[in-house]
Amino acid sequence: MRLEGRSLFPWIAGAAILCSIGWALDRGQLPPADFTFVNGTEVKSLDPAIVTGQPENRMINALFEGLTRWNPETLDPEPGVAERWDVSDDLLTYTFHLRQDAKWSDGSPVTAHDFIYSMRRFLDPRTAAEYSYQAWYVKNAKKYSGGGRAVRPGDNVEVELNVDPNGVNSIRGAVIRGKLVRIEDKSGNELAGDALDTAAGDASLNIEDWTFVVATEAGEERFRYADDLSASRNEPAAGERHARQILLDLHDVGMRAIDDHTIEFTLENPTPYFLNLLGFYPLFPVQQQCVETFGSPQWTDVENIVCNGPFKPEFRRLRDRTRVVKNEHYWDRDNVKLNSVDFLAVESSTTALNLYLTGEVDWIYDVPAAALRTLLAERPARDDLNPKPMLNTYFYLLNVTRKPFDDVRVRKALSMAMDRTELTERLLGAGELPTYSLVPPGLPGYDPPQSPHENVKEAQRLLAEAGYPEGRGFPTIEILYNTHEGHQAIAQLIRKQWQNNLGIKVRTRNEEWATFNSSQRQLNYDVSRRGWIGDYADPNTFLDMFVTGGENNCTGWGNAEYDKLIAAAAVETDPAKRLDLLHQAETILMDEQPIIPFYNYVSKNMVKPNIRGFYNNIQDTHPLSALWIDAEEETPNPFMEGRK
């Protein structure tokens, strides 16, 4: 027995090694796709409603299509599933006419009902769409997605009843419509007016403790929130019914299908970028039948998914590669030139660069800073690299609830005492431009107002005026950044500049991402870094962040005049006047300076010189459906325009 065991040992080891090689090669070598590129982190989901982020953007854009789509060069909205649209004179009503030949990948037509279904699903709080605010421009959409906390007595509501907890999770419960009469709190007292608003905004209160009294066809009924599981196990209290959730009546939300191919949206305010938003991936449609047959998230499995974009997925290997192939049912299939595209989930930008330089991939969207400088310095200049400014600003937040940042003179002194040119030219070196405004340049009709430029003398004078001559008595301040070598190098440089120019003491502190975000939100910092990417090409995406108490404000700063201007701009119908209001608002922001902008990012794409249909644009968005391969490189390459 023992002898056998011992002599078996090498055999077992040998078998294990062979098995592992077999396993490793099990996936085999595939024929390469027409186009292969590095897409960054593994995408969170293929469900357009629940994702955020750039890798997801590229993936969803390949698989789905909205009412409009963006021109690959100018990013202007163009007909997508909608072939044309009418806009009312007050800019509040949009009517879209869907093309007859728009199809799902299973061959069935894409109709107006699909869009209503998808929009409702997107707004439903149970879908938990982090990007739901992208649809809040539609009338009452925000209220709908606020669920039971957003409805008020007098509103028309829909009560969704519980379903079998073992059923498919994406099917809605039966809906009862009625008028909300009153809301009662835990002890049975009526909640109304300000008390209701306060209670609804208090996340520590459980909505399950409230009773919603609704006048329905059956008379006044009392509903209480319950999970499907607890609803199936427990009888409701006497005189009450369980409800999955209570929402504003969908009929009061500004969208309806007029017929199978016509859809109408009514907006809260004139929104000049509404057509762009409809081409932004969170608002893309999903197929009801597919979602409700397989449930969430199983419907996104490659075997199950039904999509309506230029491509459909062929296989997906987590953190390895996802292959998409041309969707033969896509209405514009004749203009889709690539038959297959591989999305590589490679996180390290160095690995991505290695893959690109060895010819394994055709496009990488990021190049490590050190390598970028070398690549840019190559002579003759490379024909596959052309950094261009983006709609993206890097800045520092100042915590104005803390001394000494409560003094505007200190904030100004800090801004004026830094040397942005040293930062962009010495440290970054990819052609980034110094900036003195929050909104990046390049938006049509908007010339951002400037905060004061560098002036060390004036900065020292301001600091002295604020009571800290030559930095004496100035507390040690701390720059907070999330763990990343780039942010660290910048923080070290700024620290040196502030110490030399103002004679103040500066420390730096790094925190990993989740802790960093929570510190920022709780105002647990002195100075903190932030980068902001415009969601759409309009100054508002930057400026509405700094309204008093705004969720992403994170500085403690607020200004009534600023809030008023942002609110006025939201309802202004005249585009020029609207931009003027936003300009006035930014002037206040740059004068009060709760933030210090330093530079605008540049895009860092490397694209094989035989790829066409790839353009530099300020949102760094490159639809795959527009790409084609010019093997002989006979046509000019628009991507390289402007590079010497």
């Binding site: 490793a24 969170k44 293929l46 955020t52 996340a203 998230p297 490679v346 690995t351 394994e360 969720e551």
Partner: protein
Amino acid sequence: MMIAFIIKRFFWLLVTLWAVFTVSFILMRSVPGGPFDREKAVAPEIKRNLERRYNLDKPVLVQYGLELERVFLHGDLGHCMNIADASVNFVIRQGLPISAALGILAMTFAVSFGVLTGVVAAAMRGSPLDVGLRLAATAGIALPNFVVAGVCILLFVFWLSLLPAAGWGSLSQLVLPAFCLGAPYAAEVARISRTSMLDALSHDYIRTARAKGVSRTRVVLVHGLRNSLLPVVSFLGPAVAGILTGSLIVEQIFGIPGLGVYFVKSALQRDYTLSMGVVLLYTLVLYTMNFLVDLSYAYLDPRVELE
């Protein structure tokens, strides 16, 4: 005897898993920031629904009970909080074979190369070859993975154009990662096997064998090697577990879709379910490897008794 030993070990495995589960649960929930904190704020009602999906809206003790029940009674590690399309079990099913294959290859390289150099060095103790191999082993232990990987990539990918830069699927894509992952372990094995070989060679029975006229090679390879393998085997237990899960850097550099990355990343992203899943997996692998090592002692050395 044997069966009692296995049952006892299995019982302690459960206790260990439970303890690890509890400590990880407490640690994860006591660091600041949650899985759904984002740079851009998430609307409160949306966040509540996200949290509800993972029972995070319930009191911590209730969460603990639910998780414990799901993991230990149903063997279901739950749904990833970050990769919303996948369950933790699925992520492990996809990643583990890859990490395991890579790990076994790296280990094979480490053991065969390590034992060979260790034995040669011991047999030729004091010679320039011995000094050279020991230097190389020290360097192998001291040099971090990413330096070895960087040099290898420069050499084999860019200068010699022999091997692909990254990826997974073909034999040529395996060579560099397996080498880089195995190198420090090879160095460690070489060091251990040299020491234990020297120890074995100093025993009386070796002198007896030599006196009987057995050839030098046979003495080293049969009498010496068998007795010097035990320390190497005992090193293998934790090393295999470490190589399986510590492949983070090699996996990142070579773009390999294994499990190593999740050990760090899931914790940074506060992906409670995924990080719990990989921590439990690590515990299981480490425990199993140690168990196998103990069992193999009994086979390799008849003097060892299981207890």
